[in-house]
Amino acid sequence: MPGLEDLYREIILDHYRNPRNRGELPTPPAVRVEGFNPLCGDEIVVFLDVADDRVQDLRIGGQGCSISQSSASMMSAAVKGKTVAEARATIRAFKSLMSIHEQRLDGADDDGGASGGASGAGGGGGGPAVPEAAVKLGDLEALQGVVRFPVRIKCATLSWNTLAQGLDEAQEASATSPS
């Protein structure tokens, strides 16, 4: 199927068939965040263990299409072990790969096109900001072809929006609880 090669690259299909970091983490200490895609009804669950301003561990649950699953899988590999600031920079870099540019400063994203996605974006606090240009996306670049399929952009960004929300919640939790 020639027209679809852009969308379903080999590396994407590989992450889809063999997803990394699937599973759950005990909460607490981890936070559990859900993301919905109202277009299709899919849900992604991100379990996120943040300590010392670093993503100590994360796991992916829920269900979705090949694009959302492989994007989540690649994301998990990309941000595990990173500082919160690096993770946020990765989110921004990925979104800009998806041609989504933060329009506003109040933390809401503006995906354009059809509705959906969990709210909360890559803005906000958490250590010194890392410039997104410094971020290497590596395998994630394979997802670039998704941009040609507007409806599927939501699939690719679903786990990322959920992660962003998870980072917010983890940081709030650590701000309010004694650490």
């Binding site: 009804g41 979705g64 599927r152």
Partner: protein, 409 residues
Amino acid sequence: MALDVELVKKDFAILDQLVHGHRIVYLDSASSSQKPAAVLDAMQHLYETTYANVHRGVYAIAEESTRLYEEARTKVAAFLGAASTREVIFTKNVTEAINLVAYTWGRTNLGPGDAVLLTEMEHHANLVPWLQLKAERGIELRYLGVDGEGQLILDDLEQLVDGVKLVGLTLVSNVLGTLNPVAEVARVAHAAGALVLVDGAQYTPHFTTRVAELGCDFYGFTAHKMLGPTGIGCLWARESLLEEMPIFLGGGEMIRDVRLDGFTANELPWKFEAGTPPIAEAVGLGAAVDYLLAIGMADVRAHEIELTRYALESLHERHGDDIRIFGPSDPEKRGGVLSFAYKDIHPHDISQVLDEVGVCVRAGHHCAKPLMRRLGVGATARASFYLYNDEADVDALSSALTSADRLFS
């Protein structure tokens, strides 16, 4: 006399084109149908010869525009077997029709603790308006369950209906295709003193609708699924009910008199039609009714049964256990809506791969999330048929599934 699909197809310009180099195979009519030339021409003709706002003009084109708008109502009234045109309210879609009932009849008659009985297979359009009332006023919602064949579980109907003020259900499920025994449910509901609201969105396009025989009190349908344009739907209700109901939207058309301190409502059906109505859309809907009647609803339905039977058989034959088709297995007991799971490929991936060869199917929750949860899936792929589909379309679907399999396994 069987439907001549080749002839029918000629009326639909959109079907005569290539998508990604392949003949388009449109299998998403349950979401929205395509429109024949007769419908588009009727609207174009109105706009090019006699368009004006309705109901208040004395000049010739305004009179004609009004006549055409009201003639559409007369056609719809006959198409539904309504007792009078006063019972036919034009809305923007069936969603608004159901909301109209929830806002007017519902907010007059339903308070804390009052119960409404729905089904687990309802479209969001027949869930959310009642969930809003639950959130706002604490009404109780009960649900008729769905069995493994996709049929309503009616064993405990009498028990569930006890003390209920309204039963709301769809005639044909937009996910399972299930044709529900509405007349039977209505009998039990009425015996228990409940009113019955029927969502006919998936029924009226394919069957002869007779509201009296269905025994319902409220009935809604939407034009864009039955060859009509977007922007118009319809609420039918018994006249005495409509008379009792308070008004919904306020504005022009729906009033008899307005003073700075109050107003009086207009007669039926205009009482419920605030503002400039969907004039061209009504004319288009009238043309859709004419088109369907010229073919004959019996033939439309017979064709649907035939094609559904072919699809069920041929898909099972070719794909065996790889395909799981939801809903009743007897084509007589269902509409031409086939939701399916194929291997463990996600419905959106299926739809994407199918699109590459011109086959249009819908993937998702089909605005029936509670049913998805009941079926234990997040989404399904759904192929749905109408009078312009034929066996070749089913074959194209079937082959495309094989390609999807090759890509993802």
